[in-house]
Amino acid sequence: MPARRLLGLLFVAPALALVSALFLYPLALSIASALARPDGGIGLENFAKALELYSGDMVYTIFIVAASTVLIGLVAIAIAGYLTIGETPWLLTGLAWLYRWPLFVPFIVAAQCMRTFLAKNGLANNTLVASGLIDAADTVSLLDWRGVIITFVWKQAPFVTLLLAGAMAAIDRATIEAARNLGARRLRCLIEIVLPQVAPTLMVGLILSFVTMLSVLSVPMMVAGSQPTMLTVDMAFRINAYGDYPVANALGVISYLMTAVVAWIYLRQAMRERDT
């Protein structure tokens, strides 16, 4: 039915055009720029330079984003899990009301708040000192890799929790109740009954967070010093200090590859689930 196929194509055309114009075209441009040599040829010099100068920052970036993703997963499971199988009404209401707040705070605002909150003589430490929990001499500044991870987790955990709590609310409660009736404790119930049923949703949430965090410039720039730093800061620096788009694009392509690995893991998992 060529007419129907044409109609189908027509329906997807706007979406396809949008993806092509706003994603595929810039992607192709950035790969082309990353491979371009000053003399007009094609080569890997920009990647060599990116690796030479920023390999440490690449490892640092992966470490920060991976550690944040794991922590986000744990926090999200804890909150969403409690919202699903918790039994204390006031705690449930309070938690459900509170946990979403960071969703509405932009990264740059979160970073600015953390700058004064996590400093050596910042609000967090001052509160602990004033309440007598630690001594003023023992305070440490968290404005380094720890600060970046804390900011990321604070900002992204609610997003994953939102998805996860939705998925958990949708599963058949009979499975939870059956397990509870047979004497399973709540934690075991969460890990063995609830989590396996919502794992794909958790995965999607974590992958989206991973990709988002990889692209944030403000948090590593504002919260921590620049040695080492994340690739976004290096990209901005290549452009701002040297007007050097080729190496900045090479770093961009390397970031794409990092996300591609995650996407591949996710797709493989999805295919496996469909096959079984």
Partner: protein, 378 residues
Amino acid sequence: MRMYPIVLAAALGLCAAPASAQTLNVASAGDQNMVDYVRDYLGPLFEKTHPGVKVVAVGTGPGDAGSQKIYEKLAAEKAAGVPTWDFDVVVIHQKMAGQMVGEQLLAKYRDRIDTGRLVTRDTAANALGADVAGYVMPMFHSQTALAYNPDLIKDVPESYSALIDWVKRNPKKFGYNGIKGGMSGVAFVAGWVYAFGGGADQMMKGPYDTTTKAAWDKPLADLKDFNKSVVITPGNAGTLDMLNRGEIAIGPVWVDMFYTWMAEGKLPPNMRLKLIAPGMPGQPMYYATPAKAANGKLAEEFIAMATSPEVQAEGIVKRFNWYPGIDAKYLEGKLDQAAWQKLFADISPDELASKGEPFPIAPYFNDILEAYERKVAN
């Protein structure tokens, strides 16, 4: 039908707007204080003497990044063959000014305005090695220096070498922002290379020689070692924040930001400045007008007003704590002694002349940054 008159009125309004009012677009690179200066001070002053003109101030972001954005917009408009360009006045850094003059993006206007002859500093003609004579007017001169808290530090180092010893005795009490977090850190590093790399004069005036950087291996290795005992702060503001909270005792800052923060109560009033030997860099910001500015004539009048002795005294020195862009001798009598002395309290005019250095010329500048990335931060 009832909508008709409203639509008509709106359409008439749209047509009439450009005739009754002129808009002067001022794009400024730099920190927020630069935008504030145009929006809150220069703009209203200009509007008062030019009825019907509206000054719109746009900030393009701090550091060279801000100038880069202005450059990219003008270069794109030139490449597209647009007859008149959107910005009328641009405020840019030295590094980009040279490139913009080279690519014929700016108008040669200085000789056409009265205040053009009040400028004596060589930075008005030479921007990091590029000849910009006639195309720019210095808006102000800004200087870096070490800010310190006299309550926490008694033996204030007088030079880079004394600072190294001091840091050995007081680990993690000196802080700076590396090279990716703003220009105060970049200035500290450039000063380090001037102090220990040799050939500082050639780096400031040229000619460029690719082999010079071979002499930087030892100083940069020392800097890497030095960095182990210092705090790397998040940005220009990060250094000031940490000084304010007493987390570090000393660190490089921009003099104007230092005084502004102090005036706003964001730094303890007892903090002091020290310009260490052999010297630390400073830089002007430039007023320029694009080659095809829509309101070129008005832009020149705006710059003439902004570089007049009265405005330089009241706006640049008194309100915003910058050093004047025009020769300071023309400010005599326009400024009360208190304001003058405040600006030169810690750094005397002589010290400023002997230890205030320019940044290195553009190719050396890039070499220093990249050598730092390769040898120190890596």
